[in-house]
Amino acid sequence: MDAFYASVEQLDNPELKGKALAVGGDGERGVIAAASYEARKFGVKSAMASSLAKKKCPHLIFVPPRFDRYKEVSNAIRNVFYRYTDLVEPLALDEAFLDVTENITRHSSATAMAKDIRKDILEETGLTASAGISINKFTAKIASDMNKPNGQKTIKPHEVVPFLEQLPIHKFFGVGKVTAEKMKRMGIFNGAHLKAHSEAFLRTQFGKSAGHFYNIVRGVQHSPVKAHRERKSIGTERTLRENIHLQEDIEAMVSKLAKESFNRLERSQLFGKTITLKVKFSDFTQITRSKTLESTIQSEEEIYNEAHELFFKEPPKKSIRLMGISISNLLKNEEHKPPSPEQLLLDF
């Protein structure tokens, strides 16, 4: 979606249309969550400090965010997506990957389909969207930024490699600020430069990420569109106001964390079997200890007892600045059955 939060605000309040608008707090420490295209002309960007934005654009109008409303619009958009494919991987409220390999709507091309999707979104929400169409998630995402706002770009299979060769290195997926700097020092400024290096060489420089860099610049990305991003774990952690080391303080903390993580489990209607305790010490070293139970966790006490045992079986000597408990090995409510009696087997 184009300038999503700002566009929703302009849609709901026509007085704001055509005006430089920022969603976010305008206080001393406020940060811009989204800026309208009108505001962007003045150099206002998302994640910019509000104070700086005000300097760049003195007549900037600040609107507090209304996330419930954005969520509502987001659902409307997603419903459009699901008419075209079941394989929708939401990336944010206003962004998603769609795998349209299986062409259930019988469009002549993905490009034509993207046009229709954008048309549907405009008709149903009054908002404009941009699309990128290509052979994998990374190139599609890059393409979607090219003709913003209210546009789309298709990078056809035979265009992918030449396109990537000219692409500035910092645009590559997995290349952050630090890696980009490092690559530039090595004379890698775009895809073609990166492509000139062997995988073995990249390995010496970038370790585990080498394979990814080697492949992505050749248009190879084996990352499927994941229709359901499932939660792997649920839990909570706290950085303590003051470091603690007394047993009673630790126990109180464990009890608090156990209560909170159990509440979260209940709220999300999930059941878990593995309890992980994370402890960060005053010297910033950190340990994690975990235990997998035979059946799913049923109570707060269970979490407390296990976490307590995990901690005190080998009590660390340093004082603690952070503690966390997380529950993994999650099962959904409907998959979960109460522990059933188990038929034992002869030990042959």
Binding site: S295, P338, P339, S340, P341, E342, Q343, L344, L345, L346, D347, F348
Partner: protein, 372 residues
């Protein structure tokens, strides 16, 4: 090849061996009985490759020795519908045409070349043991129900025959339950063992009576049971039988003695209320009271009964699959049974108190269903 035979004699012979035939066969020849006439002796065979069974029928009149394969289903079906009467078979061994004449009329069918019928398994370097039918009948009756059905562990799908110089053991287990049946009135001249599959066990069960004398010939791959006029040759299950002795607990300090029929009937009633998947019943013993209970949380069903018993040991609560207990109690004939236990997560051992036969020992073992 011509003969005259009593329809009921022939039917009886076919029924003895008909169990070998499979409902569907990949080899059409296996849908036939093999008839071999030699003088007045008509030898009839049936085979499913793994098992070959033959029997001998004496015909009233035989002319021209010969052999032919006769379609089994057609023959059995027509024989079922005759009152006892002499049937005259006339077979053209050239084109395998078979003509049967009865009091009522004529029936024609076409057989197959006897040469296509599989040759029975050879039995080279065989050992021999002769035992009474009573042993085999009882061993099969006590063990067969405890065999497993797991294709991944074929050795447990049969009954383990273990012969030694002082006793014969027959063992079956599916890893949940185990039966060991021992006889000391039959011995072998040297130790040997083999695993006999379910099908031949059932065929033996159908045909052996306690009065028969059974001669068993066996080598590593094949066994042949011969009794009366019947001969059953079967391929054995290849593999090593699990070390069953190792799983029979020795120390079982908690000993419950209870009337078998009362226990059985209680279990029948209570198990109706048990969970349909686990069939779990709980046995709780304290003092001289045995309480049997079951519940099915899915439907809020529950049942509880009490029985008086003799009990030596610590109070215990242990869960079992009621189906297993019922099967085991049903396969015992004694008035009272002993249930030996140690822990709720260790096997329970069921033993008969009173024995019909002094040379017989029965041990049944069942693994608990853990109570949670």
């Amino acid at each position: 090849m011509n003969f005259i035979v009593s329809s009921s004699t022939l039917r009886k012979g076919l029924q003895q061996i008909g169990g070998v035939l499979n409902a569907s066969n990949s080899l059409p020849i296996l849908d036939n009985f093999l008839f071999e006439l030699s003088g007045q002796d008509l030898t009839i065979s049936a085979s499913d490759i793994e098992n070959t069974m033959r029997t001998k029928v004496v015909v009233d009149e035989g002319k021209e020795d010969g052999k032919v394969a006769v379609p089994a289903k057609l023959l059995m079906d027509i024989l079922k519908n005759f009152a006892d009467q002499p049937l005259s078979f006339s077979i053209d061994t050239g084109n395998f045409g078979i003509e049967i004449s009865s009091d009522y009329g004529k029936y024609k069918l076409v057989g197959q070349n006897a040469g296509d019928f599989p040759k029975g398994q050879e039995l080279e370097n065989a050992n021999e043991i002769t035992i009474s039918g009573d042993i085999i009948v009882n061993a099969i009756d006590k063990c067969l129900f405890a065999t497993g059905n797991d294709d991944l562990r074929p050795v447990m799908s049969g009954v383990f025959f273990e012969f030694s110089e002082d006793k014969l053991n027959f063992v079956a287990t599916d890893a949940h339950k185990l039966v060991k049946y021992t006889r000391t009135d039959g011995v072998a001249n040297k130790s040997a063992d083999f695993i006999l599959p379910k099908k031949p066990l059932n065929l033996l069960k159908q045909n052996i009576t306690s009065e028969d004398s059974i001669s068993i010939n066996y080598n590593d791959t094949t066994v042949r049971f011969s009794f009366n006029e019947i001969e059953l040759t079967s391929r054995l299950i290849d593999g090593k039988y699990p070390n069953y002795e190792a799983v029979i607990p020795v120390e079982n300090p908690n000993v419950l003695t209870v009337d078998r029929i009362s226990f059985l009937n209680s279990l029948k009633r209570v198990s109706i209320f048990s969970n349909k998947t686990t069939h779990q019943v709980r046995l709780k013993v304290a003092g001289s009271e045995l309480s049997i209970s079951a519940e099915d949380l899915d439907f809020s069903n529950e049942a509880k009964e009490r029985l008086t018993c003799n009990y030596v040991g610590d109070d215990i609560e242990i869960g079992f699959n009621s189906k297993f207990l019922l099967e085991m109690l049903n396969h015992l004939t004694c008035n009272e049974v002993i249930l030996e236990m140690s822990e709720p997560n260790k096997a329970g051992i069921l033993l008969p108190v009173d024995k019909e036969n002094d040379s017989e020992k029965i041990l049944m073992l069942v693994m608990p269903v853990m109570i949670r």
